[in-house]
């Protein structure tokens, strides 16, 4: 066990443990979207879980830090909040904010983070961006809304983990990146049960059952 300081409070954690996980377990909320408990290599793609660590330049993503004795972590410095708010606003600028009609309403990852960071769901500075592409229309069970998706990749993580061969993948490039179904397996012989884990992993209900 290693002793570390999080926001000046002494915490005991396992040497080598994931810092984001340790913070969350000990009641220090850090905004995050792409993190799943027990992942061996974090994707570090949502760029929300920034913290500052003493003797390191600028904010770092806590999911990519492993615990070592003497680590001094601060979770709420101005540079941390600036990057977190900026990332959230970017995500919201590409998110179809229509909470009333969204199945994720009130349990949505974005709502939670926005409340925590005190950011309105419709930030004014940035123009709204929308993807023209539709996703996975031919999928027998899954519905996918590219303009809700935050591309956290949790569905892929789950998919990889449970099925071995992935059913889902990232497709296209740049802003147009989407989640698409993929693989050689004939999907007509599958049942929705095989996809529930993927859909449930989605923090913003971009993925869900077709009739949702």
């Amino acid at each position: 066990m290693a002793k570390i300081l999080i926001d000046k409070k002494e915490i005991e954690a396992k040497e080598g443990a994931n810092l984001l996980q340790v913070c969350l377990k000990n009641g220090f909320y850090i905004p995050n979207l792409c993190h799943l408990e027990g992942m061996d290599s974090p994707p570090a793609s949502c760029r929300l879980c920034f913290v500052e660590i003493e003797e390191e330049d600028g904010p770092v993503t806590s999911c990519s830090v492993t615990v070592r004795a003497g680590l001094k972590v601060t979770t709420d410095t101005p540079p941390v909040r600036r990057l977190q708010r900026s990332a959230l606003k970017l995500l919201l600028s590409a998110h179809d904010v229509d909470c009333a009609r969204c199945p994720a309403n009130k349990k949505c990852g974005l709502q939670t983070i926005a409340r925590f960071l005190k950011v309105g769901l419709k930030p004014k500075q940035l123009e709204q961006l929308r993807k023209e592409t539709e996703g996975m229309e031919d999928h027998p069970f899954l519905r996918y809304d590219p303009n809700r998706c935050v591309l956290c990749g949790r569905c892929l993580q789950v998919c990889h983990g449970k099925q071995g061969q992935p059913f889902l993948t990232f497709a296209k490039r740049g802003f147009d990146t989407v989640i698409a179904s993929y693989g050689e397996k004939d999907l007509s012989n599958t049942t929705y049960q095989e996809f529930t884990a993927c859909a449930q992993a989605c923090p913003v209900a971009a993925l869900g059952p077709k009739n949702d």
Binding site: Q125, T169, G174, F175
Partner: protein, 644 residues
């Protein structure tokens, strides 16, 4: 791995060297004239194949026996197709822009009649009393060629050419040494990775050597993708064996038995040349199983990248070889710890590997003497854009930008003035004239706000709009972003949209501040190097050319007259010649009409601002003007009824 001190190695390598010497002698002792044609991609694009055909036809027509030899690129791309003619009795002479017509003339006048055609030549390649030498020109004399020393002088598809020039002797020497001796030499030479980041090569190799793992791998990163950069392609096409030799040395030093050449598939000639080079080296026992009779094996293969810029990032490159989508992964672990298939992996750039054989041959002290304290050795740039002598240039580190641009590369053509130089590709920055005295080395360029990058350099003259340049680079990075992390995927799209709006004259109050804020967040918050450096073109142009941004946003004016929405063409009626119709046919949209007094006017509602009329207008009239903002163009009424 233990050093092999057996005689077998010496015997084998001496036999190979003797074979190479016999091959070289067979060429030099041949009394027939020799014609060397540069046939790398740049030569081929400029018509080297047609030139070669013209030589062959002219030689057979005149029944002259001469030897046509294919070589790579000398780096003087402005002069392609480049041909060296060695006619006995004359020094070897370098000719530039040898069109098929010039080729025919050379055969007739030079080979048949002994007139070297002074009007076509660039210079002699050897000292003589007749013809000025190329070495007297700055482009030749101020370069320091370490990596590209014999590029353009040997046939890249003939391994014996390379061996005859001393090739593979560093590898042979290496196999007599302990791996840590080699790593020490590379460390002491101060060599830093030429891919852009400048990580010390010797240190990387040491980490890989000390890392635990079953199947260590060496990867050549030839996924060169910066717009305007072609150093790696040229080196692979012109002297592949120097790169292969460097890779083999690295593999021996770190204990790898597997090497992969990651070459982008958009470089078909490089892939072909390097594949052939591997075959030839294997045949001679210089690669493959039991290299030079020792127990050192190196399984070496080519992997073709499929056209994603981000795969030049080492973790994305590894993903791509593993059959995954090329997306950068979190580092650490670094590839030297956990790389391809989880094994320790060394990834180095083409120029890094190609620097190794000369370092081992001439020694670490020799290499340290080239360049600066913190950046030893040479820098290789592909200098393109508004520059007289575009091409590949190798200079000692520390040479100021001014010397490179104005002395070595001949400066800006067409009596234009220098405006900016973009160093380091889409991740680099645009430096204005104030920075021309910046020495070219890793640290000085970074300090100035640009970066060394892998060696792309775009020179821009006064007719360049910096906002448009920033837009161009952001368009590139946004298209090439892998889409993984929030800042790069969405942030660069916002930057691009803002820049597009500004270039269209739709910029708003606060746009510049938003550009700046977003750029800083993208730089600080992105996951990989692509995202972290993507805002550099915006940040540097905003810093050094802010007035141009302000002119676009506030005055709706493009000072360089580039942004089409902010410019207009009109015809100066004072200068326009009555009855002249030169511009009318050039207009693709019939926007040019005849005025009542038989001069010409442009219908602004139809004009697409292609600028064809400027070219078409005879120089003695020079009547077409370009203005920004467009309102400055005087309105010329189109006559209601025209009957001419």
């Amino acid at each position: 791995m233990t050093p092999e001190k057996n005689k077998n190695l010496d015997q084998m390598f001496t036999a190979i060297q003797e074979k190479a010497a016999r091959h070289a002698d067979s060429i030099t002792e041949d009394p027939a004239p020799k014609i060397y044609i540069g046939m790398a991609t740049c030569g081929l694009a400029s018509g080297a194949l047609e030139t070669k055909k013209a030589f062959e036809e002219a030689l057979s027509l005149r029944n002259i026996q001469a030897r046509i030899l294919q070589v790579g690129c000398m780096g003087h791309c402005y002069g392609e197709p480049l041909v060296t003619v060695h006619n006995p009795g004359f020094p070897p002479i370098l000719y530039h822009q040898v069109t098929p017509g010039k080729a025919t003339m050379l055969v007739k006048s030079f080979l048949e009649e002994g007139d070297p055609l002074f009007e076509y030549l660039l210079g002699a390649m050897e000292e003589n009393d007749l013809i000025p030498q190329v070495w007297d020109f700055a482009r030749f004399s101020q370069e320091k060629r370490v990596v590209t020393e014999i590029c353009g002088f040997i046939n890249p598809e003939e391994i014996l050419d390379y061996i005859a020039m001393g090739g593979y002797s560093s590898l042979a020497e290496t196999l007599r040494l302990e791996p840590h001796d080699i790593i020490n030499q590379v460390k002491n030479s101060g060599l830093r990775g030429r891919g852009g980041a400048g990580f010390p090569t010797g240190k990387k190799w040491e980490l890989a050597k000390d890392a635990r793992g079953q199947e260590k791998t060496v990867i050549l990163n030839a996924d060169e993708g910066d717009p305007g950069a072609y150093m790696d392609r040229t080196i692979l096409e012109s002297n592949p064996h120097q790169v292969l030799e460097g890779i083999a040395i690295c593999a021996y030093a770190v204990g790898a038995r597997k090497a992969i050449l990651y070459v982008r598939s958009e470089y078909p000639l490089a892939v072909k040349v390097v594949t052939r080079a591997i075959e030839q080296a294997k045949e001679l026992g210089l690669l493959g199983k039991g290299i030079l009779g020792t127990s050192f094996d190196l399984d070496i293969s080519v992997f073709q990248g499929s056209g994603a810029f981000v795969c030049g990032e080492e973790t994305a490159l590894i993903q791509s070889i593993e059959g995954q989508r090329g997306m950068p992964q979190l580092r650490p672990p670094y590839p030297v710890q956990k790389g391809l298939w989880g094994n320790p992996t060394v990834i180095n750039n083409v120029k890094t590997f190609a620097s190794v054989p000369p370092i081992l041959k001439h020694g670490e002290f020799w290499y340290r003497q080239i360049g600066t304290e913190g950046s030893t050795g040479t820098a290789i740039f592909s200098v393109v854009g508004d520059i007289l002598h575009a091409g590949l240039v190798e200079i000692p580190m520390g040479v100021p930008l001014r010397t490179l641009i104005f002395d070595i590369c001949g400066g800006i053509p067409n009596k234009r003035t220098f405006k900016a130089v973009q160093v380091g590709g889409p991740s680099g920055g645009c430096l204005p004239a104030d920075f021309l005295d910046t020495p070219i080395d890793f640290d000085s360029l970074t300090e100035a706000g640009a970066m060394m990058g892998s060696g792309g350099m775009v020179v821009m003259d006064e007719d360049t709009c910096m906002v448009d340049v920033a837009r161009y680079f952001l368009d590139f990075t946004q298209k090439e972003s892998c889409g993984k992390c929030t800042f790069c995927r969405i942030g660069t799209r916002h930057l691009l949209n803002l820049l597009e709006r500004i270039t269209k004259g739709e910029g708003r109050e606060g746009d510049l501040e938003l550009l700046e804020d977003l750029s800083q967040d993208i730089r600080d918050g992105s996951l990989c190097g692509l995202g972290k450096t993507a805002p550099n073109p915006v940040l540097t142009s905003l810093k050094y050319f802010r007035d141009e941004y302000v002119a676009h946003v506030k005055e709706k004016r493009c000072p360089a007259g580039v942004c089409r929405a902010l410019t207009a063409y009109y015809i100066d009626l004072e200068k326009c010649a009555r009855g002249c119709d030169a511009c009318v046919g050039s207009c693709p949209v019939e926007a040019i009409f005849t005025t009542k007094n038989r001069k010409k006017g442009i219908d602004q509602t139809l004009c697409v601002k292609c600028g064809e009329c400027v070219t078409a207008c005879p120089a003695e009239y020079d009547a077409v003007r370009k203005v920004s903002p467009p309102e400055r163009a005087p309105i010329v009424e189109r006559p209601a009824d025209i009957s001419d």
